[in-house]
Amino acid sequence: MSFPYRRSAATAASAGLLLSLGLALAACGAGGGGSEQVVRVYTGRHYDLEEAFARFSDETGISVEFLNGSDSELRERIAAEGEDTQADVFMTVDAANLAEAADEGIFAPLDSQVLDEAVPASLRDPENRWFGLSIRARTIVYSTERLQQDEVPTHYADLADPAWQGRVCLRDSSNTYTQSLVASLVANRGEEEARRIVAGWADNAEILANDVLVLESIADGRCDVGITNHYYLARKLEEDPDFPVGLVWAEQDGDGTHVNISGAGVTTYADDPELAQRLIEWLATDGQATFAGGNHELPVNPGVAADDLVTERFGTDFVRDDLNAAEIGRRNADAVRLMDDVGYR
C-alpha cells in the first residue's frame, strides 16, 4: 500500500471527527434550558431589545430568547414552520409585515384589556392580532444652514414641486419606510394624486440607500431637504448637538405626519400564548420607555413620555396621521408598483 492511501484515510478520519465535533457543539448550543418559563421571540427589530427583555425577566421571572433577522424572511420562516415553529411572538419594524403576517394566519387574536387601553386603535390590528409598540414618524428634514424656518416645506407634496428640483434627497423604493409613506399617500389622496407626487419626487430627488446617508448629504450640501424617520436625526443630534439638520412635523394642517410602527403579535402555534401575551402587554406598558426610548422612537402608550432628546429638540405635540397601520400595510404592494410605474428608483 502506498503512502497516499494512508494519508487520505487519515484525512477522511479527521474530517469525520471535525464533522461530529461540529454537530456535538451545535447540539450543546441548541440545548440548555430546563423547566423554567421561556418566551421565544422572532424579531426584525434589534436595537435595545436586550435591555428591555432583561428588565422583563427581572420583573416577572420569565426569560426571553430571541432570534433576529429581517421582517419578511422571518415571516416566511414562521409560515413554513407551521405548527413546529418555536416562535411564540413575532415582532417587526414595520406595519406592512404585521398586516401581511395576520393575513397569512400567523397571529392569534388577543383578548387583552391591558393592550386595548395601552395601544391606540389606529396603531393596532382591528381584529387584535397585532399591536404597535413604538412609533416611527417619517417626516421632512432640512438644512438649518441653508434654509430659513419659513422656507422649509411642510407637506410631502411640496418636495414634488419643480422649485425643489435637484435640492431633495430621498430613500430608495426597496425600503419599507419609503413604501409605507407612499402607501399612506395612496390611501389618503387616491392613486392619481399619489402618482403625481411620487413622479415629482423622482424628477427632483437624489435617491440614496439609507436614511443616514440622506441626513449626511443634507449636512454636506448635496441637498437642502429630505424625508427620513425621526429617530435617525435624533441619533445624529445625540452624537453632535450642532448637526446642521432640523426637522419639521409634516402635514400638520392636513392628514398629519405619516407614522409607521414597530409591533408584535402572538403566533398561532405559540407553546404558551399566555406568557407571550404577558410580554407584549409589558412592552406596551411598563416596558415602553426602555423599548421605544432607547432608540428615540415614540411610545404608543399615551401615558408614557417620549425620551428627553426627542421631546426637547422635536417636540412631541404634533398631529399624527391616524390612518390604520393595517390599511397602510394593505396598500404596500400598490405603492411598490406605483413607484416602479413612475420611475422612482
Partner: protein, 572 residues
C-alpha cells in the same frame, strides 16, 4: 511531506500485473459493473438533494405571475437586465485581468517582497463585499472625507467621480473577488501549467508564444472557473449593489418579495437569475475549451521564477501594493480606527462579551460546511471521471445551481423542502422532533452545501481534470476500483485543489450572512449575524469590530492556504 509521497503510485511492471490479474478478471468486472452504475447514481442523488429546494421554488412556474412580469417588463426589468449584464461583464473582465495578471506576476518572477505579497494578495478574500462596499462609500462617497476635502478645496460644486454608481460597484466587487481567479490560476501555475511553460520556453518559444500556445490554454480552465465563481457571487448579491444604487435583477427580486409580498413572483424572478447563472456557466464552459489537458507523470513541479531587479522589480512590487492597499490594507485600517473609536466611546461595542460564542459558532459552521461541500464535490467530480453516462454529467452540472440563487431565496427553498421532508417522514411515522426541519444546524449545513457546492466543485474539478485519463485508466486496469483510484490516485494528485476548495468554502461560510440569519437555530449567532445586528439599523461604525473579526477569522484559512502554496512552490 516528502516529494516521494506526492508521486503517484508507479505502475507495476507488466509481468506482475499479468500474473496477478488473470485469475481475478471475471470477479473484477462484476464489481466494476456495480460501481459503474453506482457513480452516476451518486451524482444523481446529490443533484436531487441540491435541486429539491430549487424545485419547491420553481413549482410556481406552472402558474406564472404574468401580470407581475408584464408590469416589470414595462417598468424596471429591462434596465435591471442591462445593469446586471454590465455589472457581470465589468466584474468578470476586471477579476480575470487583475487575478490572472497578479497570479502570473508572482508565479513567474521573484521581486522584492514577492513571497509575502504572493500570499497577501489572497487576503481581500477575507473581506465581505458588503463590508468593503460600506467602507468605500463612507470614505470615498459624497459624504466621506475624500469628497469633503475635495469640495473644501475646489468649491461646493466641484466635480468628482460618481462613486455611488455601476462603476463604483464594479471596482468594489473586483477588489474583493479577484482572489478567486488569482488562487485558481496560481494553483494551475504551481502545477502543470507552470511546468509546461518552462518546457515551452526551454524548447525555444518566446514568452508571448509560450503563453499563447501552451500556458494560456492550460491556464484557461482555472481562470474560467474563477471568473465563473466571481460572476455568480456578483449575480446573487443584493446588499452591496443597493448601497451603490445599482438596479440589478436581484434588487428587483427583493423589492417584489418584500414589498409586494408576492412570494411566487419573487421565486419566478429567482428562476430568471438561475437562467442568467446558466448562461454564465455556459460561457465558462465554452471558455474552458473542448480540449482536456492531462500530463503523464504526476503533478507538475510548477514554474521556475525569474528574478526581477532594479526598476522592474520595484514596478512589480508597486503593482501588487496598488491592489493590496485599496482592497485590504486601507479598509482594514479604517475599520480598526472606527472599532477603536466605538470601543472608547460612551456606548462601547454592544455584545462584545459574547464574542467567544459568536466565534465558536462561526468556526464550527465554516468547518462543517467546508467538509460537507468538499466530500460531495469530490464524489461528484469522480462520478464524472468514472462514468460517461450523460444524464450523470448533466446532474453534476445541475447540482451547482444553488450558487446562482440569492441566499435568502435559497434559504426559503430549503425551509420548504425540509418541511415537506418532515411531513413525508411523518406519514411514515418517523416525524422529526419539533422544528428540527428548519431551525437546525443540519438544515443550515444542508443549505450551505447547496450554496457553496459550485465553488468547491470548480476547484476540485480543476485539480482532478489535470489528472490525465491515462493515469485513471491504468490504475483501473491494475485492479483498483473507482473508490480506490479516488483515494490512492485522484485525491493525492489533486490535493492542492481539494484544499483550495475547502478553504474557499470555509471563507465563504464565515462571511455568509442571509442564510445563517434565516436558518440558524435559536441562540446560534455567528460573527456575521453580530455584524448584521449592528449594521441593520444603519449603525455601521458600531459594526466595525465584528466586521474586523470576520476578516481576522477568514484570514486564518487564507494564510494557511497561501502557506501551503508556498511550500508547494519551494518543493524540490
Amino acid at each position: 511531506m516528502s516529494a516521494t509521497a506526492d508521486a503517484p503510485p508507479r505502475p507495476a511492471g507488466p509481468g506482475a500485473a499479468a500474473a496477478d490479474s488473470a485469475p481475478r478478471s471475471v470477479q473484477l468486472s462484476a464489481a466494476d459493473r456495480v460501481s459503474a452504475a453506482a457513480w452516476p447514481a451518486v451524482a444523481v442523488l446529490a443533484a436531487a438533494l441540491v435541486l429539491a429546494p430549487v424545485a419547491f421554488l420553481a413549482g410556481g412556474l406552472l402558474d406564472p405571475a404574468v401580470e407581475v412580469w408584464q408590469q416589470q417588463w414595462r417598468t424596471r426589468l429591462p434596465g435591471e437586465l442591462l445593469q446586471t449584464a454590465g455589472l457581470l461583464v465589468g466584474v468578470g473582465v476586471g477579476t480575470v485581468l487583475l487575478g490572472g495578471a497578479l497570479a502570473w506576476l508572482v508565479s513567474a518572477y521573484r521581486f522584492p517582497g514577492s513571497r509575502i505579497l504572493a500570499w497577501a494578495l489572497v487576503a481581500p478574500l477575507a473581506v465581505p463585499g458588503y463590508v468593503l462596499g460600506f467602507v468605500v462609500l463612507s470614505v470615498a462617497g459624497y459624504t466621506g472625507p475624500i469628497q469633503g476635502s475635495w469640495r473644501a478645496a475646489f468649491g461646493q460644486t466641484a466635480r468628482f467621480a460618481d462613486v455611488e454608481s455601476l462603476g463604483g460597484a464594479i471596482v468594489v466587487f473586483t477588489l474583493v473577488l479577484y482572489p478567486y481567479v488569482y488562487l485558481l490560476a496560481r494553483a494551475a501555475l504551481a502545477d502543470q501549467a507552470g511546468t509546461a511553460n518552462d518546457v515551452a520556453r526551454s524548447l525555444g518559444a518566446g514568452p508571448v508564444e509560450a503563453m499563447r500556445r501552451v500556458t494560456g490554454p492550460l491556464l484557461r480552465p482555472a481562470i474560467a472557473a474563477g471568473a465563473g465563481l466571481v460572476m455568480m457571487e456578483t449575480l446573487t448579491d443584493y446588499a452591496t449593489v443597493q448601497y451603490f444604487g445599482v438596479d440589478t435583477v436581484s434588487v428587483g427580486l427583493f423589492r417584489i418579495w418584500r414589498g409586494t409580498f408576492d412570494r411566487d413572483a419573487a421565486a419566478e424572478f429567482a428562476i430568471l437569475l438561475l437562467v442568467v447563472a446558466l448562461l454564465v456557466v455556459a460561457v465558462e464552459r465554452a471558455l474552458r475549451g473542448r480540449a482536456r489537458f492531462g500530463q503523464a507523470g504526476g503533478a507538475g513541479a510548477g514554474m521556475t521564477p525569474r528574478r526581477l531587479t532594479g526598476w522592474r522589480g520595484a514596478l512589480a512590487t508597486v503593482t501588487c501594493l496598488a491592489v493590496l492597499v485599496p482592497a485590504f490594507l486601507a479598509p482594514v485600517t479604517q475599520l480598526g480606527v472606527w472599532a477603536v473609536a466605538e470601543a472608547a466611546g460612551p456606548r462601547g461595542t454592544p455584545l462584545v462579551s459574547r464574542f467567544g460564542g459568536y466565534l465558536a459558532n462561526s468556526l464550527v459552521l465554516a468547518v462543517t460546511a467546508a467538509v460537507a461541500c468538499v466530500v460531495v464535490a469530490v464524489l461528484l467530480a469522480n462520478a464524472q471521471r468514472f462514468s460517461s453516462w450523460r444524464p450523470g454529467a448533466l446532474a453534476v452540472r445541475a447540482a451547482t445551481a444553488g450558487y446562482g440563487l440569492p441566499g435568502p431565496v435559497l434559504a426559503i427553498g430549503v425551509v420548504l423542502a425540509l418541511v415537506a421532508l418532515d411531513a413525508a417522514l411523518g406519514l411514515l411515522g418517523w416525524g422529526l422532533p419539533g422544528a428540527v426541519a428548519t431551525g437546525s444546524f443540519v438544515g443550515l449545513v444542508y443549505a450551505y452545501t447547496i450554496r457553496f457546492l459550485a465553488p468547491a466543485l470548480g476547484a476540485v474539478e480543476a485539480g482532478i481534470g489535470q489528472v490525465p485519463d491515462e493515469v485513471t485508466a491504468s490504475a483501473r486496469s491494475l485492479g483498483r476500483r473507482p473508490a480506490g483510484v479516488l483515494a490512492a490516485v485522484h485525491l493525492p494528485l489533486a490535493r492542492t485543489s481539494v484544499l483550495t476548495a475547502a478553504v474557499i468554502v470555509g471563507i465563504d461560510a464565515i462571511k455568509e450572512l442571509p442564510i445563517v440569519l434565516l436558518l440558524r437555530p435559536f441562540g446560534f449567532d455567528t460573527l456575521s449575524v453580530w455584524t448584521y445586528n449592528l449594521a441593520s439599523e444603519s449603525r455601521f461604525q458600531q459594526a466595525a469590530l465584528p466586521a474586523l473579526a470576520i476578516v481576522a477569522v477568514a484570514l486564518v484559512p487564507v494564510l494557511a492556504l497561501a502557506g501551503y502554496h508556498r511550500r508547494l512552490g519551494s518543493r524540490p
